[in-house]
Symmetry: C2
Subunit: 147 residues, 2 copies
DNA sequence: TTAACTGCAAATGCTTTGCAGGCGG
DNA sequence: CCGCCTGCAAAGCATTTGCAGTTAA
């Protein structure tokens, strides 16, 4: 493997777990899922692997409150997260040009945007079950997410 | 004091430190500043006080990366933070109607916005020292901030 | 008086690490 | 074969908490 990294059994398993995870598991959860496939894996290895992958841009670390880091694969495209404060459920959404807006703001302050963080904490609205407003086009749901 | 709270010497000192702090100190730093005024204060008390004040909406807890929580008084008006990834310096800025934008996005997803988090991590641009663009009006610097 | 508060140190919870043995390339 | 990996348990850190002695109201 490139850069002197070894493809060990544990890493193979963790990689598989990650590619099959379309939510935002924390290390404990990844450890649980990996253990099902191979019970010779330790949490320490999960921590080490997850860190390795994050440093190489494969994974992205998130903080949705609650103290533990949560992870998602980095190749999922630009999106943000809305956390349901009641259930803890995470809803992903995209917003066209939001990053561009932030870049502009940053530039105006005399800086160059390196990265940013945006999380919405919200409460589910009583479902009015109405027709879609035309504004829905701007903010589109992404079709996945179950933490 | 209201709600059975006592105004102790320690709290008086910590309150004073907070009102005089116009940056975003972490607990360690608050402890240091308070100790100067009264060396009979323990970190535990600072932690407890800071938590108390946060629960009562007097203080706001921030996470600018780096592992420790940072605090600022809640009465400073709506603003966001840009963290200089090089120096760690925090620049505050306001952006008209950003909260409103986020509220709209949230509503479109069928939620009611409870709170949100937005942080920009950026690198200082080589100072071009040019005239102000008219866009500067939109994103205005706030006149304070030295972490 | 007495419930709230404080200092101290022990405890927590997540994450990292030192070490000695394993194992992939 | 050699250096990268792993499990285990100990160590780190920021923060919280149990306890017994204070103190504000």
């Amino acid at each position: 493997m490139e850069r002197g990294l070894k493809m060990t059994g544990q890493r193979r398993v963790i990689a598989r777990v990650l590619s099959e995870s379309h939510d935002h598991p924390d290390v404990e959860e990844l450890y649980r899922r990996a253990s099902v496939l191979d019970d010779r894996i330790s949490v320490a290895t999960v921590y080490r692997t997850v860190r390795l992958l994050e440093e190489n841009g494969i994974l992205e670390r998130r903080d949705f409150g609650g103290g533990r880091a949560r992870y998602e694969t980095a190749d999922e495209g630009d999106h943000y997260h809305l956390i349901d404060v009641e259930s803890g459920q995470v809803v992903e959404f995209t917003h066209a040009d939001h990053a561009e807006l932030l870049r502009r703001i940053t530039a105006e302050l005399g800086f160059e945007l390196v990265s940013h963080r945006l999380e919405l904490f919200a409460r589910r609205l009583p479902d009015v079950s109405q027709e879609q407003t035309d504004q829905q086009a701007q903010t589109e749901r992404k079709g996945r997410s179950r933490p």
